[in-house]
Point group: C2
Chain length 364, copies 2
C-alpha cells in the first residue's frame, strides 16, 4: 500500500504536482540536446529565484548539504579566516565543513531561536576571508538579515545558506551582496530532495581554490558541465552524468513557481505562516522563534509541559498521515517544527494541521 | 512535446518501468518509518547485487562520480601510496581524485581498449595502502579481472569501480576481495542517475580517515544515516536529507532485478551483447575493445574511415530517437559506444540499433 503523507515537517515538503509528473516522463540522456535545453532553462530560472545575474548558477548533483560543502571547498584556502554566524544546527554544521576545508573558523555563537546579530558577526574579526550565515535556519525557524551582513562585509566574501528560504521568502542575492549561495530543492521550491541550487559571482569565483579538495564539487570543472556556466550554446565538457530525472523535475517546479510569480509565492507562504502561527497561539501554544524573526514557511512551537512530543508526532502520522518535525538537537523533545512550504503553503493545509493538532493534543 | 529516446549510449539507460513508476509515487519524508523500511530493504538488496555481506552498504546521495570520491576521501591518509590501474577515463579520474585526497599516486598506464594487466599493477609498488581499478571501463567497453587483483593484493585495500558492471555482469565483491566499491544507478541497475551504491568492509572501515576532508561523504557519519549501517532497527541519526524519491526508485529497480534473478539478468546482458557484437561485425564494423575482455553491456566499435561520427549519431537521434555514445577523450571521433544495459538488454533493442545503424551508414 502506498502511503500518502502530508509533509508538514521541516522538509521535504510535498512536491508541486508538476514536479512529480516530470519525474515520470521518459528519461533523457545527459548529453541529449533536449536535456541541455532543459538544463539551460533550469539555470536561467534559478537565477530568477536567487535574485542574481550570476552566470555560474546551477543545480549541483547532490542534496543541499553538498551545496554547503561546495561553497566552502571552492573558496576556503588553507588558513583563511572564516567567520560563521551560528544560531542553529546549520550554522554549526558550517563550522565543521569549513574546518575540514582548512579554515581558521571564528564561530559567533547565538542563543537558538534568535536571529543573527549582525554587529557582533561583523565585529568578530578584522579581515575575514569569508563571512557565512544562514538566511533561514531550518533548525529554529528563524530568519536573519542577510542584506545587513552584505552591507557591512567589507572585502570579505558573503556566503549564504538559502536552503529553506529560496522560493519561500524574499531572497535577492545580488542586491544583498551575497557572493556564494546554496539551497535545496525539497523545501519551498516544491521538488523532491536531491539537488543543490548553487550560485557564485565573479568576485568569489576569481578568488576560488584552483584545485579544491573535492573533485565532484570542483566549480572550475562544473562550468563546462552546464556549458560555460549555463550560457546557452556554450561548450559542454563531460564532468559527471547529470541526474537528468531530478533536473527535469526541478525545471518543472521552477516553471510552476515562476508562472505563479515570485511575489505571489512569497505572499502565499507569508499568509499560510501567519495563519498557522496565529492558530497555534489560539490553541494556547507558545511559539519558539523570536518575534519579528519568524519564518512563515517553517514554524517552531514549544511542546506543552507534560506532553510527550514523540507520541504526538506518531499519532499525527498514524491517524492523519501528517508528518511534523521534532525540534533539532537539544530541542528534540521540547519543540515541534511545522513546515508549510511550496505546495503546502495553502489555507487548507493550515486548517488541517491545526485541526489535527487540536484533536491529538485533546487526547493527550 | 516529450521526446521518447532509446538510450543506447554509455548511460543513462532507459530505466526499468518499475523504477520510473516509483518516482511518480507520493513522496515520503526521510524520517518516515515507511521510508526507513524502504532504505533498509534497499541496502539489503544492494548487498545482494554487490555480492557482499558488508553491513556498510548504502546508496550515497549523489551520482557515481561522488562514489569514487567517497571511496578515496574516506580511506586515503595523507602520503598514502595508491596504485591506480589506468586503462581508460575512469582510471585516469581516480588518479586525480586520489591526489586531491593527499595520496602519493602510482599510476599504471595501459593502452586504452586493453584490460588491466594484473601482474604489472601488483608489481608497481612494494606496499601500497590501496590498489584501485575499474571493473568495467565505461570509456572503452573493457572488463578487467578484479578477482586476480584481490588474490594478489596482500595487505593493501582493493578499491573497485563497479559503475558499469553492477547488475550487468558477474560481480562478487566478497569472494573477489574487494574492500571498497562504488557504483551508479543509471547503467545496468536500470534506474535514473543520482545515487551511488557503495560498500565498504570492516577491514577498510577500520583503517578509514577519522575526519575526512568531505563532510558530505564522511562514512563515519553516514553509518547513522542508514541506521547503524543499514541494520533494521538500528539507531538513526540525522546527517542530510535523503533523496527519498530516488531511493524509492532504486528500491523498485533492485526489486525488479532480483525478481528476475541475478543469474538471469547477467545472462540477458551477455546474450544481448553477444548478438550486438556479432551483428556489428556482420555489418563490416570492427570492435574496439580487446577480444576476450569485451563487456556485453557496453560495446565499443570503430567508426569506419571516412564516416563522420557525430553526423551518424545526430542522424540516429533525429531519425530514430536512438542515442549512442561518442568515444571518450582521444577516441571521440573514432569510436562509438553502444550500451544495452538494464531494461535495454533485450533482443528487440539489438535488432533496432543494428537496423538503424545499417540504415544510417548506408546513407553516409
Amino acid at each position: 500500500m502506498i502511503r500518502e503523507r502530508h509533509l508538514f515537517g521541516p522538509g521535504p515538503s510535498n512536491p508541486y504536482p508538476e514536479a512529480t509528473r516530470a519525474l515520470a516522463e521518459p528519461l533523457l540522456g545527459h548529453l541529449d540536446p533536449e536535456f541541455l535545453r532543459i538544463m539551460d532553462e533550469t539555470c536561467e530560472m534559478l537565477r530568477t529565484v536567487w535574485g542574481t545575474t550570476n552566470t555560474r548558477t546551477l543545480p549541483l548533483s547532490a542534496t543541499g548539504s553538498a551545496g554547503m560543502e561546495a561553497a566552502f571547498v571552492n573558496t576556503v584556502h588553507p588558513g583563511d579566516v572564516v567567520v560563521v554566524a551560528v544560531n542553529g544546527l546549520f550554522g554549526q554544521r558550517m563550522t565543521d565543513v569549513a574546518a575540514r576545508c582548512g579554515a581558521e573558523v571564528v564561530a559567533v555563537e547565538h542563543e537558538w531561536g534568535q536571529p543573527v546579530d549582525v554587529d557582533r558577526v561583523l565585529a568578530a574579526h578584522d579581515s575575514p576571508a569569508i563571512i557565512a550565515a544562514v538566511h533561514a535556519e531550518t533548525s529554529t525557524g528563524v530568519r536573519s538579515d542577510i542584506a545587513a551582513l552584505g552591507a557591512g562585509k567589507g572585502d570579505a566574501l558573503l556566503l549564504t545558506d538559502a536552503v529553506t528560504s529560496i522560493a519561500g521568502i524574499e531572497l535577492r542575492a545580488d542586491d544583498w551582496g551575497v557572493d556564494i549561495g546554496y539551497a535545496g530543492t525539497q523545501k519551498c521550491l516544491g521538488v523532491a530532495p536531491g539537488l543543490a541550487p548553487f550560485t557564485i559571482n565573479d568576485r568569489a569565483f576569481e578568488r576560488r581554490v584552483e584545485k579544491p579538495r573535492s573533485w565532484y564539487l570542483d566549480l572550475g570543472m562544473l562550468g563546462g558541465y552546464v556549458g560555460e556556466a549555463g550560457v546557452t550554446g556554450g561548450q559542454r565538457t563531460y564532468h559527471h552524468t547529470a541526474p537528468t530525472a531530478m533536473v527535469a523535475s526541478l525545471h518543472a517546479g521552477l516553471t510552476r513557481v515562476l508562472d505563479e510569480g515570485l511575489d505571489a509565492v512569497w505572499a502565499r507562504h507569508q499568509a499560510a505562516g501567519d495563519a498557522l502561527q496565529a492558530g497555534l497561539e489560539d490553541l494556547g501554544l507558545e511559539l519558539f522563534a523570536a518575534e519579528g524573526s519568524r519564518l512563515p514557511e517553517l514554524t517552531t512551537v514549544k511542546v506543552p509541559d507534560g506532553v510527550d512530543s514523540a507520541a504526538v508526532r506518531k499519532e499525527l502520522l498514524e491517524s492523519y498521515d501528517i508528518e511534523i518535525g521534532a525540534g533539532a538537537e537539544a530541542y528534540a523533545a521540547t519543540v515541534w517544527r511545522i513546515g508549510l512550504m511550496g505546495r503546502n503553503a495553502r489555507p487548507d493545509a493550515v486548517l488541517l494541521v491545526l485541526a489535527a493538532l487540536k484533536d491529538v493534543l485533546g487526547r493527550a
